[in-house]
Amino acid sequence: MTAMQMILSKIMKNNIKIVKKIFQFYQEGFQNMRLGKTLWGIIAIKFVFFFVIMKMFFFPNFLEENFSNDQQRAEHVLKNLTLEKGK
């Protein structure tokens, strides 16, 4: 093993240790939560409701859905601004 490989290997080991420590920090934090579990539950329900139900079914991006490129989108908005589209 060359000196460079030894240095790289040491850096890798140190990095893995740091990642492990961070992982354990979060793992213990989440495990020891009491009220936090209820709050995370509310956050999870909210995220599913917002990003899955609301965003997918009720809030499509109007210009993304109806036009395939920026030129068409610009054209559409310009038509609105120049009062050609019933605005």
Partner: protein, 508 residues
């Protein structure tokens, strides 16, 4: 023709989500700093009582943060669906601040939030304290980017309209970043958050004192809350003054509506209390108020920092004022229509390859560009926002702000002379001031947003032109869905928080 029903429902939906979102934000802004101050006292003194106090308020902070989290994202959904014209037009301007806000919120808040909650006894005291301060600073910096975006809508700067892409394109990032309206709004808004946080701490602590529970911790909390509240109330008054000055300079119609001022004049006073004459209309000779009590010179001073200054009234803005070089709305509407027609002509010329006509049309458009938004208005009186809602919201907000200042002063005074326990009325008033704090914050936003109607972007784009061609029924459906969802979240917040408060200040 503009679909006014669709516009009104889209407007109502946005107002609903923004108002609900604002129920969660101010407490995050204010309480985060109060917690940081409490923890600093703990680290400085080593007194574990302060650690328990910090942990208690941190728990309530976490409840508010978790329930309020991502409620603002709904507004971004609405931009894409209901306000697609607006989103497209401002995309280039808003992209940068909102992206910075997203990154900052994610990295600063989420990283240090974890250390703040999971890091007790795992990281050093100073590292933990640093994390708490960084959560507070990060939350407040997130608000900065949002309010820079909002400030730009109130006073658009640093951009140029591109007639080929139908977008306002940023011509000077620094003008957008250092827009004076954005900063005055930011400072006043975070100031209101600090006062809200203080009211919350003072009010809940007052409840403990009334119940004779956790008395020592409640007294320590109330002193920190009232001190922070008193200092930030002064800050709020000062930033409110600067906000009014900005409004006077860039949105004079809003200032006139805030004060119910129809005919402008020099040495204008502020109506401290009064009742608007509901029969008064733009351009008529009827009295503005049925009764009022006025503070002389105050409006001239507030608006222009000069007691002698002329303050424009709504009639000046609608019919013009030659002496003050104010162009009538009618004239601006006519010029706006020329701008729209020139834009159309430019577009057609570009399509047909007529370069000469395109150049001529663009020249006409540029000459009339600053009136562009006025071309969509039907009537000259459309430039006036709803006067009663703006006026009463403003006055009630100012009245409540004055009460909060007095409350913090009295609480602090009686705490210092050690007579707070016996002041039951004051403690009850402190408790009931918590909802009043929320009300004041919402009223502030009503003044800011209703007061700038009919504009989505001041002078450039009226709200009616900002909407998408979506079905009104779809907007109505989602309006009620949001009303139910946010009410459920609010009930959840109140229930969880009340439960934690009833448990007491220990064991968090």
């Amino acid at each position: 023709m503009e679909d006014t029903l669709l516009t009104d429902w889209s407007r109502a939906q946005f107002a609903l989500t923004a108002l609900y979102h604002w129920l969660f934000v101010p407490l995050t802004l204010g309480l985060s700093f109060i917690i940081a101050i409490m923890e600093t006292i703990y680290v400085k003194t080593g007194n574990v009582v302060w650690k328990e106090i910090t942990k208690f308020w941190m728990t309530l902070f976490a409840i508010n943060f978790a329930i309020g989290l991502a409620t603002g994202i709904i507004m971004e959904f609405e931009f894409g669906t209901n306000w697609s014209n607006y989103s497209w037009i401002v995309g280039d301007i808003f992209g940068a601040p909102l992206a910075i806000e997203g990154l900052m919120a994610f990295f600063m808040e989420s990283t240090f939030f974890a250390v703040m909650f999971f890091g007790w006894d795992k990281v050093s005291k100073r590292m933990h304290l640093l994390s708490t301060w960084l959560v507070a600073i990060g939350s407040n910096l997130s608000a900065l980017w949002i309010l820079i975006a909002n400030g730009w809508m109130q006073h658009p700067v640093g951009m140029e309209f591109n007639p080929d892409t139908a977008r306002f394109e940023m011509s000077n990032f620094w003008d957008v970043l250092f827009n004076s309206t954005g900063y005055s709004k930011f400072l006043h808004t975070i100031g209101s958050g600090y006062v809200m946080g203080s009211l919350f701490v003072v009010g809940i602590s007052a409840w403990y004192l009334l119940k004779n529970k956790d008395v020592i911790k409640a007294k320590k909390s109330i002193v920190v809350g009232a001190t922070f509240g008193l200092i930030t109330s002064i800050f709020l008054i000062m930033t409110g003054d600067e906000s009014a000055h900005e409004v006077a300079l860039h949105q004079p119609t809003k200032l006139a509506a805030m004060e119910g001022l129809y005919d402008g004049h020099k040495r204008a006073g502020i109506v401290a209390v009064g009742q608007l004459n509901s029969e008064k209309k733009i351009g008529d000779d009827k009295e503005e108020f049925t009764w009022s009590f006025e503070i002389p010179y105050a409006l001239s001073f507030l608006g222009y920092h000069n007691t002698d200054a002329f303050v424009l009234g709504m009639n000046d803005m609608v019919y013009g004022n030659k002496e003050k070089d104010i162009e009538s709305a009618k004239s601006q509407i006519e010029k706006g229509k020329i701008a729209i027609s020139a834009l159309k002509s430019y577009k057609e010329a570009k399509k047909s390859g007529d370069a000469v006509k395109a150049t001529d049309s663009l020249k006409v458009f540029r000459e009339h560009e600053k009136y562009f938004g006025y071309g969509y208005l039907k009537d000259e009186k459309d430039i006036v926002p709803p006067v009663a809602l703006t006026f009463y919201s403003f006055h009630l907000m100012v009245g409540l702000g004055s009460w909060f200042f007095m409350l913090f002063f009295l609480i602090l005074y009686f705490a210092m002379v050690n007579k707070l326990d016996s002041k039951k009325m004051l403690l009850r008033a402190a408790l009931w001031s918590i909802p009043l704090g929320y009300l004041a914050g919402e009223l502030g936003w009503i003044v800011a947003e209703v007061g700038r109607q009919p504009w989505a972007i001041e002078g450039m784009l009226p709200v009616g032109m900002a909407t998408s061609q979506v079905s009104t029924t779809a907007v109505q459906t989602t309006f009620w869905l949001f009303a139910i969802l946010f009410t459920a979240l609010l009930i959840a917040e109140i229930r969880i928080m009340t439960k934690q408060i009833k448990i007491g200040m220990e064991g968090h």
